[in-house]
């Protein structure tokens, strides 16, 4: 009578919860340049080592250039931060996939890609989108820098158990509707604080039918619904994805792991503190119109009347009028990338629309693969040619315009359709206006220079 979350939690309790929080063991700690320098400084002050360098992996993604792999002439502070990570990893013996590594990429793209992300594991990273790894039935969530320091020093976290929240999607998705639309529909329904204090478990036939890239997109944005973690129970789709990857177990160890993983799914009568059900077959492509990811509507809908002062302020910031249709709204920038939608299948979706077409001259389009490996595979299929021929920029792997720390940004007052995860004020650059959508919708909008419906394109509808 346990949920998937209960089972992973129970298997990782080092010291049970009393008046003090439980001490929970962490199987994998992913680190990057932005949220670790102060944690390593703390370790040095205390004279501590990294307890398990074999369970810690570093990469560079947030503040790095995507125009080239060289830091020469790049933002001095960002370069210094990147170099600090390299120095810290060298000093403490932590493996690092740096800008010259073929394993480099957005931390939440490379974990799964390398087979580090496995069902049943506890995974943390100083980044709120660590929830992505929950797609494998791993308990994964973001932590702050103080917690990064704790995990480096002890391989453990102090935690109180969260509640269980079941999100069920049933039915078959219509053509042109994707995982991104599912998660935006959920957040629109429950709000950005709807999952606070809970862990989501995504269930139902719609979720079962999704491939791993799509499941990652959904779990990735759990945090935008307020839940630190989101989970999908592992199944054959999961096992097939993990099998044979670089750090995946092999031979006898694989068989043992598989036997363990098959016991992870929630029991039939497991208790959930909250539940919500969404009809997957009735979903439409979604798009945001406001300044948080909960302010999302079907692409064909009109901007709602503001219900609160915040809503009105959001519309003013976005330069949108109540009652205005989203379709046809002018677009200046299109960004395909981020830990939400920068995997091979996302790039294939966008390329399916763009093949043989041109990006509208009013639009700057940036395509940023999630990892070196995604870039390599995309180029092997000729996707880079599709994007370049259409007039889009094809970049090196990184977080890029999702967080706009590295110079890739949307100019003030300009509107972007972005496949990333946050439309907060200024997220993509000071004064930038972000419309979150799927790679299909983003690509169609790039072609038309306006918010466009991908279902009008051949091969989609």
């Amino acid at each position: 009578m346990k949920t998937l979350y209960d089972k992973i939690w129970d298997a990782h309790v080092v010291v049970p919860e009393t008046d003090a929080p439980a001490i929970i063991y962490i199987d994998l700690h992913l680190i990057h340049e932005v949220t670790t320098p102060q944690a390593f400084a703390g370790l040095k002050e205390r004279g501590l080592k990294v307890r398990r360098t074999d369970k810690t992996v570093g990469t560079m993604d947030h503040s790095i250039p995507t125009s080239s792999r060289s830091l020469t002439g790049f933002d001095e502070m960002a370069a210094k931060q990147v170099q600090a990570l390299a120095a810290n990893c060298a000093e403490f013996g932590v493996p690092l996939y740096d800008l010259n590594s073929t394993r480099q990429g957005i931390v939440h793209v490379i974990g799964p890609e390398l087979g580090l992300t496995q069902p049943g594991r506890t995974i943390v990273c100083g980044d709120s989108h660590t929830s992505t790894h929950g797609a494998f039935g791993a308990l994964a969530h973001g932590i702050g820098t103080s917690e990064v320091e704790m995990v480096l020093a002890t391989q453990c976290l102090l935690q109180r158990k969260s509640k269980n929240f079941r999100v069920k999607f049933d039915g078959r998705l219509q053509p042109g509707v994707t995982a991104k639309d599912m998660i935006l529909a959920l957040i629109a329904k429950i709000g950005t604080g709807g999952g606070t204090g809970h862990v989501f478990e995504f269930t139902g036939s719609t979720v079962r039918a999704l491939d791993m890239d799509a499941r990652m997109t959904i779990c990735n944005m759990s945090i935008e619904g307020g839940a630190r973690a989101g989970l999908v129970a592992p199944d054959d789709t999961t096992f097939q994805y993990v099998a044979g990857r670089e750090f995946a177990p092999r031979e006898a160890a694989w068989e043992q792991a598989l036997a363990r993983w098959k016991k992870l799914p929630s029991d039939d009568d497991a208790y959930f503190d909250q539940s919500v059900t969404i009809d997957g077959s009735s979903l439409e492509p979604m798009i945001t119109y406001g300044t948080n990811p909960g302010m999302a509507i079907p692409l064909t809908a009109r901007v709602p009347q503001p219900a609160t002062r915040e809503d009105a302020e959001a519309l003013r910031y976005m330069a949108l009028e109540p009652g205005q249709p989203m379709l046809g709204h002018p677009v200046d920038v299109v960004f395909i990338g981020s830990c939400t939608n920068s995997r091979l299948s996302d790039l294939r979706s966008a390329a399916r629309i763009l093949r043989g077409l041109k990006v509208n001259p009013r639009v700057r389009m940036l395509v940023v693969p999630g990892s070196y490996e995604v870039k390599r595979q995309a180029e092997a299929e000729g996707l880079d040619r599709v994007f370049r021929d259409a007039g889009a920029e094809w970049r090196e792997a990184g977080c890029s315009m999702c967080i706009a720390m590295n110079g890739d940004s949307v100019p003030t007052g300009k509107t972007s359709v972005s496949t990333s995860n946050r439309n907060f004020e200024g997220r993509q650059g000071r004064g930038a206006r972000t419309l979150l959508a799927s790679p299909l919708t983003a690509a169609a909008s790039a072609v038309e220079g306006r918010v466009a419906d991908p279902r009008r394109y051949e091969g989609v509808a």
């Binding site: 010291v15 702050g144 002890t154 604080g193």
Partner: protein
């Protein structure tokens, strides 16, 4: 720990950590002076130095896990934040830095206006509004002890080193 001060009020709901400290200020490798960029892109919030208690709208601190948001609030001079709810990661980060996340109901929240004074008493878990009511607020008992007694959480976990090693041996 008792904080008696004027309050600053930012009444908007769902203020995310990108608003508290924009990403372009995350390129630092220390915490020094980070408070100068607090709410830098939201001048309309009119948050000025002086008050040690910030009153914020529901679901404060949602979004990015950046602890820089808490460091910026602390460095600016805030010692407590009052809201009707906090995002999970922000609340954790606050407690680990001794910035008190004080949760009150919407009735009490509505009483808190700019220019008023209030007192947050951690030991008593009480919020007193000057010339107004006194209410209690919940806080994690362990975090409360850590803050009041200056207990170090990493030190606490390190004391369990043998139990952690035993777990590691049993789960290779």
């Amino acid at each position: 720990m008792k904080i008696s001060s004027l309050i600053a009020v930012v009444s908007q709901e769902n203020i995310d950590t990108d608003q508290i400290i924009p990403a372009r200020f995350l390129k630092v490798t220390d915490k020094v002076g980070i408070g100068q960029h607090l709410f830098e892109d939201r001048p309309e919030f009119q948050v000025t130095k002086g008050p040690e208690i910030l009153v914020a709208g529901n679901n404060f601190g949602c979004g990015s896990s950046r602890e820089h948001a808490v460091w910026a609030l602390k460095d600016f001079g805030f010692k407590a934040v009052i809201s009707t709810s906090f995002a999970d990661i922000f609340r954790q980060n606050s407690l680990k830095n001794g910035l008190l996340p004080v949760v009150v109901d919407s009735t009490i929240h509505a009483l808190l206006k700019p220019g008023m004074r209030a007192t947050v008493d951690l030991a008593a878990q009480a919020l007193s509004i000057d010339n107004g009511p006194t209410v209690t607020f919940p806080i994690d008992s362990f975090s409360k002890t850590c803050i009041l007694e200056g207990l170090d959480e990493i030190g606490y976990v390190l004391k369990h080193d043998d139990v952690i090693s035993a777990y590691e041996n049993a789960n290779p």
